[in-house]
Symmetry: C3
C-alpha cells in the first residue's frame, strides 16, 4: 500500500544503520544477563553503542537541514530518528542502574525482558527496511505491540514475585527499578512502531 | 467553530463506542473502591473491559487502512484512538498493582481519584461526541484539565499523609504506586483532551 | 534558513513572555537551593510563577481560537505552549515534593540540577526569540540537549551516592524522588527543544 518514491535513498540507509545499531545494543544486553560476568566492561560496550546511536541521530538531523526534498515529511524523519534513539537510551539507562545500584544478582526475568527487547528490535529493523517499498510495516508493528504486552506481563509477575520474597526495602527498590527500565525500553520500541504506523498512514 | 464534514460517520461511531467503554472501566473502578469486596473478580472485569478497548482500537486501525477519505487527518484518528486506549490501560495498570502487591486496604483517596477519573471520562465522551458538529469540544477539554489539577492535589495530599503515617517502607511503596497510577490515568485523560484540542485547531 | 513571515507578531511576544516566566521559575529554584531558608515561602513564590504560566498558556490558546492566520502551524503553537508549560510544571512538582516529604536537607546535587535547569531555560528563551528570524534556533537546541545529558549524569551520580550512604529507606525514597523530578524538568526542556526543531524543520 505504502510505496514511497525514494527521493533520497540515503535517509533509508541511515535508518537501517540506526536499526542495526539498536540490534547491537539489544544483543549485548541479552549477552550481559545470559553470562553475568565482566559486567562493567559489557555495560561500557553498551554505553559506546548508545553513543554511536547519538552520533547517527545527529547525522540524520544535519542531513535533514541540508536536504531540500525528503522521502517523507521532514518532521517525521526527525521523530523517527529520535524515537529510535530513545530505545537505545533506555537500554543504556537500565544498564546504568546496574552500576549505580551495584546489582550483583539480577532476577531471571531481567534476561527474559532483554530477549523480548531484542525480538522487538529485530522487528523494528524489518519494519524500517520495508518503509521504502511495501505495506509489511504494519505487520511488524503489530508484532512489536504484542511483544510489549508480553514484556508487561513478565515484568508484573517479576515485580509481584519480588514483593513476595524480598524483605530488604532498599534491595527491592533497586531490582524493581531495573525491571521497570527494561520494561520501559519495550514501551519505547512500541513508540517507534507508533511513529512508523503514522508515517505509513500519512503516505498511504 | 469546528464543523467537520462527516465524510465517514462510522469513525465517529467507533470513537463513541471507545468512550463508552472507557466510562465502563472508570465506573467499575469507582465501584471497586466504593465496596472493596470480591476484589479479584471486579479487577478481572476491568481487565476484560481493557481487552475490549484493545479490540476497538485495532478495528479503528483496520478501518483506517481500508478507508480512502477520512473525516479528519488519518494520523489524528490514529493518535486519538491510541490516546483513548491509554486511559483504559492505566485504569487497568492501577488495578494490576492491587493484585501484584496484594493491597487489602487502599486509602480513601484511591476512591476519590477513581471518581475524578470517571468525571473526566464522562467529559471525554461528551467532547468526542461533539467532534463532528460544534465547538463545545474545547469547553469539555478545559474541564478535563481542571479535573486533572484536582487529582494532582488529591494525590499529593494523600502521599504526604502516607509518608506522615506509614512506617513500613514496603507498604509505603505499594500504596504510593497505586495512587501514582491512578493519578497518571488522569494525566492520560488530559492527553486525550490535548489530542482533541489539536484536531479542533487543525480543522478550525 | 528558517525565515518565518511574521504574520502575527504577538504570538512571538506571548512566547517570549512564557520563556521569561520560565526563567523566573528556574532562577527562584536556584535561589531556593543556594540559600535553603524560608523554604515554604520561596516554594509558594514558585507556585505563583507556575500559576502565571498556566494563565499565559490559556491566553495563547484563546488567541489561537480567535486568530485566522497564524505565523506557523496552529497545532505547533499549541504544542509549543504546552511543552513550555510542562517545564514550569515540573519545577513546581519538584518543589511540591519538598513540602510533601518535609525535606529539610536536600543534597548538593539538587542545587547543581537547578543551575542546569536555569541554563536550559536561558537557552530556550534565546531559541524562542530567534524563531521568527534565523537559524540560530537549532544551535540553542543542541546546547539544551547537551545540558540534559549533563543533568542525567549529575542525577545518576547523586542517586548512586545516596544508595551508598543512606540506610533509611524512607529518606532514600524522598531524596531520590526529588532528584528525579529535577532531572525530569531537564527532560521537559529537551522536549521543548524537540518541538522547536520540528517547527524549524517544517518551515525550512
Amino acid at each position: 500500500m505504502v510505496r514511497l518514491i525514494p527521493k533520497d535513498t540515503s535517509f533509508f540507509e541511515m535508518f537501517a544503520a540506526m536499526s542495526n545499531n539498536l540490534i547491537d545494543a539489544a544483543r549485548a544486553l541479552v549477552d550481559l544477563f545470559a553470562d553475568y560476568h565482566n559486567v562493567e566492561s559489557k555495560i561500557e560496550d553498551i554505553r559506546r553503542i548508545e553513543h554511536r546511536g547519538d552520533e547517527m541521530t545527529h547525522s540524520i538531523m544535519r542531513k535533514l537541514n541540508q536536504t531540500f526534498i525528503t522521502p517523507f515529511d521532514r518532521e517525521d524523519i526527525h521523530t523517527l530518528a529520535s524515537s529510535l534513539d530513545d530505545v537505545v537510551d533506555f537500554i543504556n539507562a537500565a544498564c546504568a542502574r546496574i552500576v549505580m545500584y551495584r546489582i550483583t544478582d539480577p532476577p531471571a526475568e531481567a534476561g527474559q525482558l532483554a530477549r523480548l527487547i531484542l525480538a522487538q528490535c529485530e522487528e523494528l529493523e524489518k519494519a524500517v527496511s520495508h518503509l521504502q517499498k511495501s505495506d509489511d510495516v504494519l505487520r511488524h508493528c503489530v508484532e512489536i505491540n504484542r511483544l510489549e504486552n508480553e514484556a508487561d506481563q513478565v515484568s508484573r509477575v517479576a515485580i509481584a514475585r519480588l514483593f513476595d520474597h524480598e524483605t530488604n526495602p532498599i534491595t527491592l527498590i533497586k531490582i524493581k527499578e531495573l525491571l521497570e527500565f527494561l520494561e520501559t525500553a519495550t514501551d519505547k520500541a512500541e513508540d517507534v512502531a507508533d511513529v512508523l504506523e503514522t508515517i505509513v498512514l500519512k503516505n498511504a
